[in-house]
Symmetry: C2
Subunit: 323 residues, 2 copies
DNA sequence: GAAGTCCAAGAAATCGATTTCGTCAAGGTC
DNA sequence: GACCTTGACGAAATCGATTTCTTGGACTTC
């Protein structure tokens, strides 16, 4: 490992001068030339660990997500990365597998590693970020908001998305529009469902919609079971709003099993299903702007890292209904 | 930020003693009690940066992949993470977007950040890891091997996989089995194709297979075009081996456009398409064991980090044909 | 009781880059 | 020519944990 001392010795200057050259402070042209030549010759790479210890800042952003294999979160990660790397930060991606304990471990690591900040897609809205907040380290919640109000958050307008999904099905002429949503404990699931309920109430006049509503688990299998169950109704739905992409894959399977298919059966889905385009014909997709969520979160975080101390904000992005 | 000095002061001992307690060295029961109480009271978290500077090791593994939005690589990442976190290491995921320049940047960072080691899915087999090797930092190539022979690698038996994919189509009664593979410059594409050619030659007796072979780009659009092109042949194929998951999605689209579908048209694909199960009916999937690749790579890397200095190895996993 | 052994624990050096502070010389002003 | 400013740059302190070296007291052993 080549150190700054060796570079200094070879260039015949002090370490201060080497450091100045490296960090763009004022030095004579001659010193600069000598230092650069020496650094080049020795293939010197500054030790970031040492520099960080002294400098207190870390140029690393932690991104903690519950499921690295869900395309929604990878798209989000991409957004974070774009913004962060443009600003000279690297992104450390941590996968919690929806496990609050692993999440806690990673949050702990984020403090101990002196990360500049953390973007958290919380496994649970009770996620404990107090340690980070106590250490004055910026945190931004993304996708779901946290229980505490003093943390920035970036979410999408889930209720409007749910409403627009349902509306578009009614507009297309479907009359019995069901809803398959996520766990009742999860904020996004509640809001998407609420949007559906609002539209459905308006169109059907009836507030008794519960037989067309199913709570599932945001996973493929849950979507399959929920759809199969709906199709067994005496008066089954002719369309459905599905609250996330994975459940939609399951729901489609269940439709096929029952001999049904889109677009005769109307389907509106939250979130894209990449690579599944073949089955997507006639499916309405409410585009949850995952990448934009990531970008917005990163922007917010970078502001905070830059010293912005204004009160916590919540940014709400619009979910756009695509074809 | 609470430091070890404050803990020492509160406990009425020296920093050495605090450090010893934290690292499990010999101390009296009384000192231990005092230190733990003080650390607890002050919510002390050791500063990893400082500890790393002194200790020279880093408990972080870099994982550099070309495309975070490709499910193959996320599954691989999952495998790496499982192994690494069981061994107490965190994984930093870096996305190069197939850009050799970004890859170079991340490799540079890996050196500068003192990462314990790097697992690299090379964007290009000429990827330059000399810097890492020069700094004695362990590197493992995964999925594709590197040009240099002194680096461990974990790959799958692509040729056998290609052969088995084609064989299974012939066994099912198809007679004109085409092949859509990746860029000719990419090792995995060549080998998968070679396996197909071997099986096809054996079954058809003819070595003139080139009209049934298409090189594409491992992306959705390339698969679509290649399949569309194949279907225009005077004597079109009745089945195809497709060398990766993304191209298969495109190929399926092209089939639909031509009014064809599986399982009447035989399809065998390298790699799974999560969430696309609906289209998977009757499709043969050659399971590229992405997660296992990641696990094997991590195991190898952890061995090296642990001091294993035996000559470089290449581990070849079997690609298993499913369904 | 003198000499030797052990062990807990403090003092201080260390890792490598950054940064403050002080020095010295060149140039400017009256 | 005396005095002040300015600028380049080196010496040394600093960040916080680890580790080596040292010390001093308790305990053995003959």
């Amino acid at each position: 490992m080549v150190t700054i001392y060796e570079v200094a010795a070879r260039a015949g200057v002090s370490t201060s001068t080497v450091s100045r050259v490296l960090n763009g402070a004022k030095v004579s042209a001659e010193s600069e030339r000598l230092v650069r030549a020496a650094a080049e010759a020795l293939a010197f790479t500054p030790n970031r660990t040492a520099s960080r210890l002294r400098g207190r800042r870390s140029a690393v952003i932690g991104l903690i997500i519950p499921d690295i294999e869900n395309p929604f979160f990878t798209a989000l990660a991409r957004g974070v990365e774009n913004r962060a790397s443009a600003a000279g930060y690297s992104v450390v991606l941590c996968n919690t597998d929806e496990d609050p304990e692993r999440e806690a471990t990673y949050l702990e690591i984020a403090v101990a590693e002196h990360m500049a900040g953390v973007i958290l897609a919380p496994a649970d809205d009770a996620s404990d970020v107090s340690r980070l907040v106590a250490h004055q380290r910026p945190v931004v919640a993304v996708d779901r908001s946290l229980a505490r109000a003093d943390v920035d958050a970036v979410t999408v307008d889930n209720r409007a998305g749910g409403r627009s999904a349902a509306e578009s099905l009614f507009a297309a002429g479907f009359t019995r529009v069901a809803c398959i949503t996520g766990p009742s404990s999860v904020e996004t699931a509640q809001l998407r469902m609420a949007g559906w309920r609002q539209a459905a109430t308006r169109h059907t006049g009836s507030a008794y919609l519960d037989d067309l509503l199913r709570y599932a688990d945001y996973r493929v299998e849950g979507g399959r079971l929920a759809m199969a169950d709906l199709l067994k109704l005496p008066d089954p739905p002719d369309a459905a709003v599905v609250a996330n992409n994975l459940m939609a894959a399951g729901a489609l399977d269940a439709l096929h099993d029952a001999g049904l298919d889109t677009p005769d059966f109307g389907l509106a889905v939250f979130g894209d299903l990449p690579f599944a385009s073949l089955g997507r014909r006639g499916i309405r997709v409410v585009d949850v702007p995952a990448r934009e969520l990531g970008e917005a979160a990163a922007t917010l975080l970078l502001d905070r890292i830059g010293g912005d101390t204004s009160p916590a904000r919540t940014v709400v992005l619009r979910a756009v209904e695509l074809k």
